[in-house]
Amino acid sequence: MNSSQLIAFLPVICIAASAVIVMLTIAIRRHFALTCLVAGLGVLVSLLALMAARQQSPVYVTSLVRVDAYGLFAMALLLLAGLVVIVFCYDYFKDREGENEELLFLILTALLGGCVLVTASHFATFFIGLETLSVSLFVLVGYALGQSRSLEAATKYLVLSGVSSALLLMGMALIYSECGQLSFSGIEQYLAEQEIFNAMVLTGIVFIVAGVGFKLSLAPFHMWTPDVYEGAPAPVTAFIATVSKGAVFLLLLRFFLSGGGYSYVSMMTVITVMAVLSILLGNVLALLQDNVKRMLAYSSIAHMGYLLIAFIAGGNIESNFVVESVIFYLAAYFMTTLGAFGVVSLLSTPQAEAVELSSYRGLFWRRPGLATVFTFMLLSLAGIPLTAGFIGKFYIFAVGADAQLWGMLLMLIVGSGLGLYYYLRVIVVMSISQESGNYAGREAVLARVSSAVLVLLTLLLVWLGVDPIHLMNLIHGV
């Protein structure tokens, strides 16, 4: 490994190092705020290291990892999301009894897994990254130990994640048995040489897509999502919804773009079915929810379905446009989801989460700032202009129209129509007048840092919705 490779890999090393430092800090002195600070600084240092790594890219760091503009941008996205989650965690857990410090360590290891994932160019790093991420998440989901919901969610996630990893490994093994290659570029080369359709490789890819489908909570592998979203502490849910899903999706896209997966047309049919199912099931089931976290869980299933439209388009049109769309959509989705769960976590305590729709009654008049933030986030999820979510949706429409996926676009329109109903329902509930002060006792404590972050996210959301050209240019360079 020469120096340029080392510099390119520096962000990942920084994250790993800060995980270790956090562990040592905890060993020396248990202090929650201090641990949060150290973890946050660690993430910031890694973000700085991205700048240095940018000079060196694109470069292969051994055959396992490829640091390029795509991977660096993805890492930046994950790290920023991680930073926001750390802030939410601080305000959420600061008054909780017991040992909360390890939480930060787990978030850092999960981030490490995510960063390895988005730079992976080899099945080994693919699997290691995914497992590092997943193992950290089991513990994070079950962190609020005293509660049965949280434990149930952790167990479910553990079992299903184990199954999906097994599927994934099986798929990798099948492909390896045929190609004799584990690196993405090697597989692509092998597939390019092959002229006839290879059933073994196809089966392998189907297994991999199924395994990844679990992580992305695509229908029909979505069963765990609402339970885990509901059971996990709100900041952790934000983490799962953004970092975990984003990293896995970006990896899948890279695997298909550089591993030649798009040459299998029948594979596209499978993914199309998954996308349609995700959009329909996600939106329809979200209609029935009275629990905000479950509703957001189903809506995230639908959003992953929308994102798959761009993914499918990759088979027909130039990959640059697809990558640009996916990254922009993910960036908008990250901001929006973090904001939405941020509001939920700000209204909650580890003992009692504000998940029932009824606890949002009259929020506009009780806590206007928080309600405004939530309204913007919901409007962005629904893809209404003046928010980044609209530009993201515009991208999906543009990519879908360019690839002439008319059926999928129709699904997107139907899904958006359904989506409006449940997003607006929350806004309606928030705007119902309620003068009685029976919530006074349950108001969550003042959380300055989280509120500041939420305001920042909202401003960013509107700014990107009105003037998205800067982010577009940034992504366009990727």
Partner: protein
């Protein structure tokens, strides 16, 4: 710059109204009034500055916006948009006036939404970049949603959500069509563009053009609305607060008609020509069906809502006849209906504020109790039924005259409404204002503020009817140019 100011004044006026509530609960409405007055001055100034200009486009502003996709911040104004912006401002005053005493809670947020809604509408009338147009199109929906869902009547939530879902889903169809247009342009030239003038006259495959036209058509006819997409309208109008109804009926419906005039036919002349018989049939059906439905209502606001559908059917008929007379009639109907429907909704709102009911069965004999209000109601009921000398008559007459040359049968059918509209107009008078008085206690008549507001609308309505050539002259160049541009591309394709 003036065009930007037209939007900015309303936008910042809305923000100011929102903030000003902190100082005094009554401050927002004065702020809103001030913003509208400033807007009014700006529109007049714009008109005075450019009255002698010979070009069709009297003002133009073009800034780069999202250059990645060739999206520009392109605003322009011609006679058509000028008259519609004027209508928007006038009805903005009416909305503020009718909300003056009706809205007592959270006034800051109310006037904020009201002005945002107007800002979005003005944006729609001025935008000449298709992306910007869609942006404004969507931006005006959400404030209206808040107006209905927070300050509306008993069944407001369902009505508000229905309104948003109808307009949003149809809007997404239009977004798809807009994007496909830009992609086709990209295919020809290698660059993206959403600019109206660049997309205008672009050669299109007949089948593609038809589908794209349909995407726009659905979005605009939902907003217009026309049968079969009209079902959101009676609910939304009935549940909205008076100010919301005034804006919704007076201005927002016109954005649909404006879209048909500005975008559907000029962008897809061939496809529209092909589609015209169906569109005109829908128009004629709307005219008749909604008139019959109006007659069957017992809820005053619902009745007025259905008359809106009926009148807007004339606009659809006129636009797709694509004859200069019919087009002028359509524009005249848009303006005149804006005024008469707004006035009727204000009367219905005033009655609801006083009687706490919209059921005509609970009214009766009101002429004795509130003579001023009743006289106004009589005037606008008659305006709505199309009395010669008032704007509505002129608009409908011109539409029928122009459309007769194009499609005799449909025009003759639509003309039957001349029998139906007096029926529904007079039924309002009969049920609500004549007969024995049933009120247990006296109610207040129109205040001076109401009289002034209504008086303005009366003057406007008579002015449109007796002195129409000012409006016709202002809008004629743009209509003629639209007809020419679509005719030219039509003839070159035929060769």
């Amino acid at each position: 710059m003036m065009l930007l100011a037209l939007i900015a004044v309303l936008f910042f006026g809305g923000l100011a109204a929102f903030i000003s509530e902190r100082w005094h609960p009554a401050a927002p409405r004065w702020t809103a009034l001030a913003a509208l007055a400033l807007e009014f001055v700006l529109v007049l100034l714009q008109y005075a500055l450019t009255a002698d200009q010979s070009s069709v486009w009297i003002a133009d502003l073009k800034w780069p916006w999202i250059s990645r996709f060739g999206i520009g911040f392109h605003l322009a104004m011609d006679g058509l948009s000028l008259s519609l912006v004027m209508l928007t401002v006038v009805l903005g005053f009416m909305a503020v006036s009718s909300s003056w005493t009706e809205i007592r809670h959270r006034q800051g947020f109310f006037y904020f939404n009201l002005l945002m809604c107007l800002a979005g509408t003005v944006g729609v009338f001025l935008a000449l970049d298709l992306f910007l147009f869609f942006f404004s199109w969507e931006v005006m929906i959400i404030p209206m949603y808040f107006l209905i869902s927070i300050w509306g009547h008993e069944d407001r939530t369902a009505a508000a959500i229905k309104f948003v879902i109808f307009t949003q889903v149809s809007g997404l169809l239009m977004l798809t069509a807009i994007i496909v247009l830009a992609l086709i342009y990209h295919g020809y030239t290698g660059v993206y563009s959403f600019d109206y003038f660049k997309l205008l006259g672009m050669p299109l495959d007949a089948e593609v053009a038809f589908w794209l036209m349909l995407g726009f058509f659905v979005a605009f006819t939902v907003k217009l609305p026309s049968v079969p997409f009209h079902t959101w309208l009676p609910d939304a109008h009935t549940q909205a607060p008076t100010g919301g109804s005034v804006i919704l009926a007076g201005v927002m419906l016109k954005t649909g008609a404006y879209g048909l005039l500005r975008f559907v036919v000029p962008l897809f002349p061939e496809a529209s020509h092909q589609f015209a018989p169906i569109a005109m049939t829908l128009g004629a059906v709307s005219v008749l069906y909604a008139a019959v439905m109006a007659f069957a209502q017992s809820d005053l606001k619902r009745l007025i809502a259905y008359t809106s559908v009926s009148h807007m059917g004339f606009v659809l008929l006129g636009v797709f006849a694509w004859d200069l007379l019919a087009l002028q009639g359509a524009v005249m109907t848009m303006l005149a209906h804006g005024i008469s429907a707004a006035a009727l909704f204000m009367i219905a709102g005033a009655l609801q504020e006083r009687l706490h009911t919209r059921q005509m069965g609970n009214m009766g004999g009101l002429w004795v109790a509130v003579p001023h209000l009743s006289a106004m109601a009589l005037f606008f009921a008659i305006a709505s039924l199309g009395l010669p000398g008032l704007g509505n008559f002129l608009g409908e007459f011109l539409v029928l005259l122009g459309a007769f040359k194009v499609n005799m049968l449909l025009t003759a059918l639509a003309a039957l409404v001349m029998i139906l509209s007096p029926v529904y107009a007079l039924i309002i008078m009969q049920k609500a204002f004549y007969g024995p008085l049933r009120l247990p206690h006296p109610i207040a008549d129109f205040s001076r503020r109401d009289i002034i507001a209504m008086g303005l609308l009366v003057v406007a309505s008579i002015w449109l009817g007796l002195h129409p050539h000012k409006v016709l002259e202002t809008t004629e160049p743009s209509l003629q140019q639209a007809m020419q541009s679509s005719a030219v591309t039509g003839s070159t394709d035929e060769q």
